[in-house]
Each structure stands twice: as C-alpha cells, then as structure tokens.
Symmetry: C2
Subunit: 279 residues, 2 copies
C-alpha cells in the first residue's frame, strides 16, 4: 500500500515511521508546505519521497492529513476534491468545525475524522519518533458518516500504532478535549508567563525550578502555530472550561484569604481523587 502523509511534523512524521516500521505501507509519500521541513523529513528518512499534493493523492491508496487544524480546513476539502476512491484521514485536535465543513462533500464517506491523543511539546520533523502513540487513545468521530471500508482502514491503521479506539460524536469530543488537553495547555502557558514576568526582577528565580514546576510548565513550550487554531476552533468549550478552572482557583484563593485551612484540606483531598485516574 502507498500512503500519503500531508504534514510531516511530530504527528505525521511519527506516523510515517510507524507505517514503514510495521510494513503497513510499502511506500510513504510526504507533502510539506515548508521547504525546510521537507528537506529535514527526507534527511531523517521519515518518508520515501516528497511530492506535491496532486501527485501524492493520485499515487496513494490512503491520505493522512496531519497539519494544524486551521490548515486542515483548507487542505481537507482540496484532498476530497482530488480523490477518486482513496481513503482520507485527518488527525486534528478539534473535530466539530472540520466535520461540519465537509459534511455535504460528495466523497464525505471516504473520510474518517480522528484525533490520536498523543503528542509532545515539540514540533516539526525533528520531533518525530519511532514507537509514538502506543497505548494512548484515539478518538474516531461520527463514524456513521464514514463508509465501512474507510472506517475499517482507520481502525486497522490506529491498531497498528498500538492505540485503543474510542468512538464519540464530534460535539462530545470537543468538550472532553477542552477538559483533558486544551485547558492544560492554557494553564501551563499562563504559569510560564507568571514566572517569566517575575524573572524580570529576579534573575535567580529559576535556580530553584523543581521537578514539580518542570512537569507543570512543560506544555508551555508548545507551538503557537498549532495551538492558536485549536483554541480558535474550540473556542466556546475552552472558554467554558477555563472559566471553571478560574473559579476552582478562586476557591483556593478564598481559603487562603479567609485562612480557612479546613476547606483547603478538603479541596486538596478532593484533587487527590485524580489518583484513581492517573496512575
């Protein structure tokens, strides 16, 4: 099988590596908007060859789109216009807007909307790794809108990556993703800005940065070119969760202001219940 990967960065590049490592594809063709990324992808042997979008679609059995969600809005309709009977997947972090955009496309059923819940704070072809995605969840949205054949391809592909598959409608996905991914990033960006602001006065502050701080602030290294479009597309859910998060923070603030350490203890005990979930 020949697979085209549009966007050979962290996600697309890691998928390309797995396609070849597993023998799932014999040939992987890369498509890249960035010349520097294209060169890097060839240099790192992430793909067998680079091609332009039209050539890649014509030569492939399946096309996987792994670009930022604003670029998916442009590229996905183009790809669906170009395909004959190929299967198309995209791997964006938001789902409703993307699905809505192509819902009336004549080749909608050849397309499967997916969100593999794996990533790191790094981006670009340099960040692609072997063995990514393993044991993480992938969400497949609105499966009834895809053909049996397309769906079966998506399931086989993500099983090959070692992922467990969760089916969900796009609306629920976007709410859940706001909770377990998007707002974590805002928290981390805001914490980084809080400390960087202070650093202007006191350069020594980072001498003390502990492992706890590093873990909380790690996501603040994430790329704005990926994240601004996610926040834009999932704006309402992200705002809802951000408001809830701020009101949870205000409870801690109120406890300290009122010196109510009994309630502070309760808030922390409640937070400890996350142990059930995060081993």
């Amino acid at each position: 099988m020949t697979v085209a990967i549009i966007g050979v960065g962290l996600i697309g590049g890691s998928m390309a590596l797995a396609l070849k490592d597993s023998g799932f594809a014999q040939t992987v063709i890369g498509v890249e908007a960035s010349e520097a990324h294209a060169q890097k992808a060839i240099e790192r042997k992430l793909v067998d060859e680079m091609a332009n979008l039209e050539e890649a679609v014509v030569e492939s059995d399946a096309i996987i789109i792994a670009v930022p969600v604003d670029a998916i809005e442009v590229v996905l309709p183009q790809v669906l216009d170009l395909v004959t009977n190929q299967i198309v997947l995209e791997a964006g972090s938001t789902k409703s807007k993307i699905i809505e955009l192509v819902k009336n496309h004549p080749r909608r059923r050849q397309f499967v909307a997916t969100h593999p819940m794996w990533g790191t704070e790094y981006s670009g072809p340099e960040a692609a790794v072997h063995g990514a995605f393993k044991n993480k969840a992938v969400v497949i949205c609105n499966k009834e809108e895809s053909s049996a054949e397309a769906l079966s391809f998506a399931v086989d592909f993500y099983k090959m990556l070692g992922m467990h598959i969760v089916f969900m409608d796009a609306t629920n996905h976007d709410v859940h993703a706001a909770y377990v991914s998007h707002v974590s990033h805002i928290t981390s960006f805001a914490l980084a800005n809080t400390v960087l602001e202070k650093e202007r006065e006191e350069s020594a502050i980072f001498e003390l940065a502990s492992a706890g701080f590093e873990s909380t602030v790690r996501l603040a290294k994430s790329n704005p070119a990926m994240w601004v479009p996610i926040f834009k597309q999932n704006r309402e859910n992200v705002l809802d969760v951000l408001n809830e998060h701020i009101s949870q923070l205000r409870k801690f603030k109120a406890c300290l202001e009122k010196e109510n350490y009994v309630y502070l203890d309760e808030l922390i005990q409640n937070a400890n219940k996350i142990r059930r979930i995060i081993k």
Copy 2:
C-alpha cells in the same frame, strides 16, 4: 558518624538511604510519630533503628528534621532544647516562619535552615528512593546565623546527595518557592478539581486523558498533610503569585472572548521563552 532522621518519609527516608549508601553515616536512627511509618521504615531497612526523640538526639552527631512544616514548628525548638553540641538541619519547604521561631534560641548557631528542591507526588516511607536529590538545587537560608561548623556540615551533607547549593535569605526563598513550586501545586489541584467535577456528568472523560494532561495534573496527587501547612506558612507570597497567575489566565480568557488571536499568539510565544529555562 551517627545521624538521627526525624520523619522517615519521602524526604527523610531518601536521605537515610543516601547516608548509608555513601558511607557518610555509619548509623542512622529514625524517629517517627506514626507507628505504621516506623514499622515500614524498619521493614524497608531505611534506618538501622527507631528511637524516641530524646534517645535519638543524645546518641547522634547530627539531627535532620524532615517532617511537614507545621510539625517542624513543634519539633525544631524541642530538638534545640535537647542538643548539647550536635548539628541540626531541617528540610522544610518554607523558611521565614521557621527561622523566626528559633532566632533567639541559645543554640541557634548549631542549626542550619535548608530546602532541598526535590520531591515527588508520593509520600511516606514507601516513597523513599535511592539516588534522590541528585543534580537538584538545595537552598541554605540565612547562613550567617549558623556557625561555620554547622554550615560546613550542611554543605558536605548536600554535596554528598549530589545537590548544587544556593545561598539565599529566607524572605527571598519564600517568594521564589511560591513561584516555582507552591503555585504549581495549586494549579494542579485546581485543574484536577475542574475535571473531576465534570466527570460527575460524563464518566468517559478520562478515557481521553493524554500525556499532557497527566503531566500537568500529576502534582494533584500530593499529600494535604504536607501542603496545607506550606500554604499556611507562606500564605502571603502564595496569594500574591496566585493572583498574578489568575490575571495571566484572564488574559487568555480575554483573547478568546474578544477573538483576539494575534494577542493570543503573542501570549503563547512569550510562554515559549520557558524553553530557555526548562530543557
């Protein structure tokens, strides 16, 4: 040398292991308020023997206090009352209140106030590990209030643990610790509570929990018995930083509300500067 460790949990237990691993101490005596912890410490061979506070102090050349900061307020004056010429260290996460409490004690100069910036979200003797502390910072506060002999012991001890030593006055320490440790924990507790609240309605939410979420929320497993006293003792600094953090979060909120994605991009680019600090 014989060293007494008061509080054989994550910190004290890991120090006890290193004291024996390195040969720095020939004998380590543990003191524990909790019978269960005492048994566990013996079972795991963290210490050579358990003793009560008086016996342990009399038999030791140095005493290290590694209990929650509210317990330090009780135990440190007791220990200073008991010692003759022994050296006393404590390893609490706040410094001003503790130092203030014993500033007029006749044996103040035998005492060194320290904060080794290492920990995990786990606690108790089960959580103690070999090789802890390595390559992390330890803060030694108000060194001019300790004798040369006591200071030299503290430096040798923390070098043995593989830590790099930062000298700082207690007031600065407490500000910096609020920034790079204490408020990270509040952020993480609040994020856990935000998501756990939502889970009441939608049990499937954690199926999607990604590595990013896990990293941000990991600290929410931390023990309230340790953290409530830290927030209490460092209340004013923690409130200041928490207010700043909430105002940084509000900037993200305002960007989304006003759909100002140019400024949102700038906020994230600024947060990316954390890459200079956190590799």
